[in-house]
Each structure stands twice: as structure tokens, then as C-alpha cells.
Symmetry: C2
Subunit: 198 residues, 2 copies
């Protein structure tokens, strides 16, 4: 079975858009979808790259906003530019690893992404994260406690370091074997690679 | 009839890839394809942008080379990274306007793009340009003489200024009415805009 690795950060809007398309893509291609939560800020720091939102060239920044709106309209997904953006996602991404270790990653993931990019919640605020997780029926206290422990910190750092070592410079980044693909707009190439890998 | 404006520079490899796809796209959508030769270097200078080939972030530059190879393979077009790249295209882009004024743009365009990106010719060298145009049955002397005259210089400057004023920051850039699209990888969005404009 071909493996599709999805390196993402909840703070990346294009990762959100890609995320919604991945389960069907994996089903169509018979691929195993593997979530790899990383710290995008760490990737930027390691590579010297920066967020498209921090684009200094005015024409590119203006076009970037148009592009995002077009993708949202094209995909027909619920989307609201998070009013708290950019959000420090360090604790949230550690919590993703903690949720994984506790066997509740799927419910965590399903709760966090819409809260971030459809509801515009401030997920840099731990109280808001606790509320969102609680509303999804998760044990927020247990997840957030584990998110502050060494195992989650180490796991997030390792995933981020691995992404950088394999060539990532932004999010979303996909791997099919050693082949790297960057961006929501490369899922057609990802799909062809998965079909070729079967 | 919807109009599809194609702002390009012969020195842009992704403009070359897009160029090969445009006639069929225009035919499918019933759009009028309008070639707008601009000076990409002038666009970069005006906006502060730079060539992807001058990317300073190593991971992005490495990925950029992989991406280009993937697009070439996917589209199945003859392509050879021009060994003289980057080439100063100022005179060549002026010559495109001169060829247009002389009513031989189609033959000029059909000769120049493959020479640049399939054959790897040094089209920054006027003698090479003259040979390529001559082999295509064009009056190279007349075109190159006109390319040095004020009309061609003014036309190129005006097209470049217009592109920047309308929001362009790179090539290829497409317009469907006032809607701008950047990149060979946005031709699917261009196509949808053209269908919507009918």
C-alpha cells in the first residue's frame, strides 16, 4: 500500500484546504494517509522561508489573498480567515502529538481544523483549545497536560526536523516515498504519484 | 467573445509551458487569445520580485528544479533548460513588438519559443536571433531593425508598465477581464473564468 505523508500545521490555511481533500484522495488511490503534525514556524526558521502572509512584495500579497478566496470558492468548503492570525501554534501542535499518543488523534484533528479555519477560534489561547476539545467530547485536561510533557515536545521537534531534513520549506508538504510535493495545488501531482506507486 | 490576455517573456520557462497549452484552451472556451509580450526583468524591478531561479532559500530552489521537471514530464513537451539562462531578453521582447507591427507575430512567436526552450539557443545574442528568424522564413534584418526603433521600445515599455499597473509580479500572467491569474499551474482557474465569462 502506498503511503501519503501529510506534513502540516493547523495555522496554515492551505493545509486546511488540502486536509479536507485528503481522505477521498487516499480512498481513490488506495493509499495510507499518515498525518505528520509539524511546527511551521520551526520549518520557516530552519530554512529562512516565511509565511505568504508576511510577503513583502505588495503585488504578490494582494494576489495571495485573491488566490486563497478562489481556492475556497472552488473547493466549496467552510472558511473564514482567522481574525487572530497569525497564531502561535506551538502548544497546539504539541497537543496533536499528545492526542496521537493517547489514541484520540482522529477526534482531535476533526475538532481543531474547523475551529481554526471555519469558526475563527483563537487556538493560541489554551482556554479556547480546552473548550474546543471539550465540546468534541475529548478529555482536554489530559491532552493539554500531555502536550506540556517532554514526549510531546520531543515528538513535535522530531517531526519538524525530519520535514526540514527531507526538504520541506512550508506547508502543506506531502511525501509519496521520497518524492516531495508542496502545496494544496499539487494534489493532482500527488494523486498521479500515488497511482504510479501502486 | 471572452478575451484571454497572456503576459509573458520568452525568458520564462513556465511561460513557455503555458504557451503550448493556450491555443487549445482558447479553442475549447471560445476565447480570443491575446499575446502581450512584456519585459519580465522590468516587472521584477518595478515590484521588487525576482526570478525563481534567483531563489535564495536552498530548499525552495531545489524543489523548484524538481517542479519544473515534473511539469515538463506531465505536459510531455520538448524542453531543455537553456544553458545560457538567464538571458537578457530586452531586444528579443522588443523584436516581438516589431514583428507584431510588421504583421508576422505568429511566425516570430512560433520560431522563438522552441528555439529558446527546446533547442537552448542563446537568444540574447542578436546574431543567433537573426539566424533563428531567418530559418523560420522571416526577414530578420527588418524585424531587428524595427526592434531598435522607438516604436518597439515604447510598445514594450507600455505593455510592461500596464502589466505592473494591473497587478502582475511575474510570468506567465493571465487576465480574463480584470481577473488576474499567475502561473502555468493556474490554467484550470483561467479556463473556469473563461467559461464563466461566456
Amino acid at each position: 500500500m502506498a503511503r501519503l505523508e501529510f506534513f502540516y500545521d493547523y495555522g496554515s490555511p492551505y493545509s486546511y484546504l488540502a486536509n479536507g481533500r485528503l481522505p477521498e484522495l487516499a480512498a481513490r488511490t488506495g493509499a495510507q494517509l499518515i498525518y505528520r503534525p509539524m511546527l511551521l514556524g520551526g520549518v520557516f526558521k530552519a530554512t529562512g522561508n516565511r509565511s505568504p502572509a508576511a510577503e513583502t512584495i505588495e503585488a504578490k500579497r494582494r494576489y495571495g489573498a485573491v488566490e486563497l478566496s478562489r481556492w475556497v470558492a472552488h473547493l466549496g468548503v467552510p472558511f473564514r480567515m482567522n481574525p487572530h492570525f497569525p497564531i502561535d501554534t506551538l502548544r497546539l501542535m504539541r497537543a496533536a502529538h499528545a492526542a496521537h499518543a493517547q489514541g484520540v488523534f482522529a477526534a482531535f484533528h476533526a475538532a481543531v481544523y474547523p475551529a481554526f479555519w471555519a469558526l475563527g477560534e483563537n487556538l493560541g489561547d489554551e482556554a479556547v483549545v480546552a473548550r474546543v476539545l471539550g465540546e468534541a467530547g475529548l478529555d482536554a485536561g489530559a491532552i493539554l497536560a500531555a502536550a506540556s510533557a517532554d514526549a510531546a515536545k520531543t515528538a513535535l521537534r522530531a517531526t519538524t526536523d525530519e520535514a526540514v531534513a527531507r526538504g520541506a520549506f512550508g506547508a502543506p508538504t506531502f511525501f509519496v516515498g521520497d518524492e516531495m510535493f508542496f502545496g494544496n495545488d499539487r494534489l493532482d501531482f500527488v494523486e498521479r504519484a500515488l497511482r504510479a506507486a501502486r
